[in-house]
Symmetry: C2
Subunit: 226 residues, 2 copies
């Protein structure tokens, strides 16, 4: 006999998802890419930006705190200033990489200047939520923001739009540039827009930079390494 | 004229996603819930666990580092020990909540004992990846793990299975219990399985604990608060 839902909790009346719908999700998960090549000068189709923002906003969040904030960058000057920060961090990364520096500098690592829309995903200042985050307050808020970004990413792919998550920036300097309040932190530059095509595999694999490990190596039973 | 992809980067030959497929994704994002009520004694349908794990594994990760590890808990004794840790943290949370303590203790906040499958999502020890995380090394690895969890969550919902992300635990004590290596951190207990029904809205809203803010309050243009 099945457990019932408590009577004070209304259940959804949605029909179950079909095998076709399930398979469409898995095709989408497999087709999502971190894109760095965009069609310059393109714009998003009517309604797409709203769909993407709504997708992000439907993410789970610890204690329902919704710690994500999304800044849409519209001023050209502001976008150029952000791109300059990314350029600086790209050079700093190259220096930190040592012997792979030249190889790294040949990669295209972001599309901040060319993408149709640039959003900045920001972790909001802590609102004091205790539920679900007494022991890991910052981590759980950050994870909620990441879930929102992943939702947005999938929604972009379903709209046949590319997205790239650019994390090559100094968060303090970007925070000052964007006049973020104390306690807020930018965690992603989201480059979004039409792309000439989607990479067939992760671009870092196509470029021979690094290769993914198979699932089996990362799943254990009961204890680490088993 | 459209920008072309560089000729050394193979493009996918997948057809574009249709409006129907796009709409299915948005229905799924809207229907996903943080579930705490499961059908006791149930098991996952054939093939479902592999689909869920594969979905997690298709997440983006900074520099392709794939910092997620998934521990499947099969030993009953181990599950009971984890549940006891969660119970302790639930009491600690109640004390920290002060005047809302009694109200909190009336909520069902997890389904660790009843769910069909219990997975622990773990942030792996830092592998030294520099690409994309020179300035925010731990944050970016953690975000990658969160993206994997969100993928898994959506895959569960598409399989008409419930999932709950339980973060009420002391990560150090859980790490010792699971014998995690130095530098690894458990970030989520994932309760997965058949549910009697899906909540119509987030359970914390149905219970009157907290209500979500609308999207418009969390999206700005060019600067915080605009």
């Amino acid at each position: 006999m099945l457990a019932r839902m408590p009577s004070h909790l209304p259940a959804t009346d949605l029909p179950p998802f079909s095998a076709d719908e399930r398979d469409a999700l898995h095709r989408l998960l497999a087709a999502r890419r971190d894109m760095r090549h965009f069609v310059p000068g393109a714009v998003l189709p009517e309604g797409a930006l709203q769909r993407l923002l709504q997708a992000a906003h439907q993410a789970p969040s610890v204690g329902l705190m919704q710690p994500w904030r999304l800044l849409r960058i519209q001023a050209g000057e502001r976008r150029r200033a952000i791109a300059a920060l990314v350029d600086e961090e790209r050079q700093a990364t190259a220096r930190a990489l040592g012997e792979r520096s030249d190889e790294f500098l040949r990669l295209k690592v972001e599309g901040v200047r060319e993408c149709a829309e640039l959003l900045v995903a920001v972790l909001a200042p802590d609102d004091g939520t205790v539920f679900g985050r007494r022991t890991m307050p910052r981590d759980m808020a950050l994870c909620s923001v990441a879930c929102a970004i992943q939702n947005l990413w999938l929604a972009a792919r379903a709209d046949n739009l590319g997205m790239g998550w650019v994390s090559m920036f100094d968060p303090e300097r970007l925070g000052r540039l964007l006049e973020l309040p104390a306690g807020a932190q930018a965690v992603a530059l989201l480059c979004i827009g039409p792309v000439p095509a989607f990479y067939d595999s992760p671009m870092l694999e196509l470029e021979g930079w690094r290769f993914e490990r198979p699932l089996e190596e990362l799943v254990f039973t009961d204890r680490w390494g088993d």
